[in-house]
Amino acid sequence: MTTYPMKRVTIVTEALAREAIRRLLAEAGAHGYTIFPVEGAGAQGERPADIAEFGNIQVEVIARPAVAEELLGRLHREFFPKYAMIAYESEVRVLRGDKF
């Protein structure tokens, strides 16, 4: 199978940031996303997720490198100062490169 290199951007953050993240994704030109309900712990303490609003989500976005770059940049500038959050990218190879 021919596969195409693409970036996967992963964001773990508080559930209340959900809409803000979705707007960011739309603005940055991502064509889709997948959201996981998760629990977690980090610098800002445990987030036990028994109230959806106080829990965490993980958002995974497959995107072209330029979009990923844009996403990470805006996360860093606009979101990190305000939300409990981590973000990272990794390399993946997708089927149907034109989809992303």
């Binding site: 809409e19 309900p37 609003e53 106080f54």
Partner: protein, 326 residues
């Protein structure tokens, strides 16, 4: 019934005892935790039930008796931030955006506190205007809008970033889950009236107090887990978390009397006024004022004001109301 009896009646009710149990379990680091969907389910149930009952009551009482106290309640919600904001800003030395966020929380309301109060009134045999649920429905949003306005003015200039547009905030404040459920169920109740009530009573009315008890167990664990944050918020906020509800409670009682509510209804308006939001307001504020520090407003409303109202506040406001109406 004197004050100590009023207090005992509240503290020894299953609902409040389950709340304390939950808090204890959290403090003892038990792994007791409700699954998140159960939490949402209980919320949906309590909101639709209270809304529906309120709607049926409106159908009976008639709009002519309901509109004035409802407007008063709405205004009360919008006005509370006007005094809490400057107090928080200058006595509490909070930043503009944190003061605005807290003001929004204390102007808005806690449905669970309201429901616990209706429970209490029922337990002590005090009748109340059951259309009072409409006050709950109209008091949630105004303060949030006012608070966000204050906050936006405070952060103007630095509005880079993900803060939501005013349109989004209004949408969230007016079409958030709790408002839709409450207002929607009010309409359903008002339209179906007694005939509808007869059909759903065994679901929405009979088991209500038991469901509330279970829900307060969960809320106890949630509040209990927040207790640790008390150290971080400072003495001022702890004091504010007790004095603000007392002040707002009196305001609500007085206003309730002025607009012609009976003893029961005035108590409920007092309780609503005294209560602080910890679900709807945090969600809206996180969306629209993400610069505000959630530890401050969540700890104040969830770990101080909420437990205070549910255990001591409700019988206290009721005691004052009885004195006011005697």
């Amino acid at each position: 019934m004197d004050l100590s009896q009023a207090l005992a009646a509240n503290l020894l009710s299953p609902a409040v005892l389950f709340f304390l149990l939950g808090a204890l379990a959290a403090v003892a680091r038990s792994d007791l935790k409700f699954p998140e969907p159960l939490y949402v389910t209980l919320t949906i149930y309590l909101l639709t039930a209270i809304g529906f009952k309120g709607g049926v009551a409106i159908a009976e009482a008639g709009l002519s008796r309901v509109w004035l106290p409802t407007l008063a309640a709405m205004a009360l919600g919008a006005v509370i931030p006007l005094w809490t904001y400057p107090v928080l800003r200058f006595w509490g030395r909070l930043s503009k955006v944190n003061a605005a966020a807290l003001a929004a929380h204390y102007g808005s309301v806690s449905a669970v506190t309201f429901i616990a109060a209706t429970n209490y009134l029922k337990a002590v045999g005090q009748p109340y205007e059951s259309y009072a649920a409409v006050f709950l429905a109209v008091m949630e949003s105004p303060a949030i809008l006012v608070g966000v306005l204050f906050g936006k003015l405070g952060v103007r200039g630095t509005n880079a970033g993900p803060a939501a547009s005013v349109k989004t905030v209004v949408h969230e404040a007016l079409l958030g889950r709790s408002v839709v459920l409450l207002v929607g169920a009010l309409f359903v109740g008002a339209l179906t009236g007694e005939r509808g009530m007869a059909m759903v009573e065994p679901f929405f009315v009979s088991p209500f107090q038991g469901v509330l008890a279970l829900f307060l167990l969960e809320m106890g664990t949630v509040a209990g887990r927040r207790l640790g944050d008390l150290r971080g918020v400072g003495m001022f906020l702890i004091g504010f978390g007790v004095l603000a509800p007392l002040t707002n409670g009196l305001l609500g009682l007085a206003l309730g009397k002025m607009v012609g509510l009976e003893l029961g209804g005035a108590t409920l308006l007092g309780v609503l006024s005294a209560s602080a939001s910890y679900i709807a307001a945090p969600a809206a504020i996180r969306l629209s004022l993400p610069e505000a520090n959630p530890t401050l407003y969540l700890t104040a409303s969830l770990a101080i004001t909420f437990p205070f109202n549910v255990t001591l506040g409700i019988p206290l406001y009721y005691g004052v109301a009885r004195w006011l109406y005697s």
